[in-house]
Amino acid sequence: MRVFHSGRIPYTTPNPPFFCAPLSQRGILIFNHSGNCTKHNVRCDYMDQPEAEESQQILANSDLRMTPQIERDIQLWRETGVYPFPSLGVTAQPTLTQYSNTDLRLIHHISSIADQMQNAEAQQRSVWVRRVPLYVQFPFMNQARGNSNSLEGSSNLQQTMALLCMHFSLCQQHTSAG
């Protein structure tokens, strides 16, 4: 794997290796002995990854706002393979067996928000309403290689990028004006 680094930011040989999340998002991958952020000199949250046993405890203690109705939805989704939010138009189906109930609950949560916003925003002017269903679909589509819809998705993503660029541009103008 290639390691990118800026001349201004120190890094050392990995032991254990890890990536500084904020910096890696900018294409700067930092390897560090201490596990702390070398740029901001703070402890890195990503060094606190739990062991397997502790991970089970976290899952047991987590509040996922699971209701009996949502449990039934997820169970039905598992049994039938039918995505519980048909109005979002997610056609590519994931391999549900590789996802835990927690994972499916998280997909259900983000999908329910997109569904609610789609219903609330009849004119569908916001980027979120039009594009989040695509984000739900892309990882699934990646599994189903050769799906012809991926070409359509690609053009939609290009539109999304254009909209995001416009959004950031407007934010920058607003910040400059302020």
Binding site: Q25, D45, I58, H109, P139, N142
Partner: protein, 65 residues
């Protein structure tokens, strides 16, 4: 997929103020941030959409702008 799960868990942790749910979001974001450079290393027509989607989702979750 981990980028999307991280976003969902982050929102749930914000709704519930549950540290354990926030920890789940860290786990997924960690996996997404490790998987993204690997996927970029194997960049192809097949994984291009997923790479772009993951990049955008992770950029939305960045807090150090």
């Amino acid at each position: 997929m981990h980028a999307l799960l991280a976003l969902s868990a982050t929102h749930l942790s914000w709704l519930t103020a549950s540290p354990a749910t926030l920890q789940i979001s860290y786990q997924h974001r960690d996996l997404a941030l490790k998987g993204l450079p690997e996927a970029i290393g194997k960049f192809s027509k097949e994984n291009a959409d997923a790479i772009l989607a993951a990049s955008i989702l992770l950029s939305w979750q960045a807090t150090d702008w």
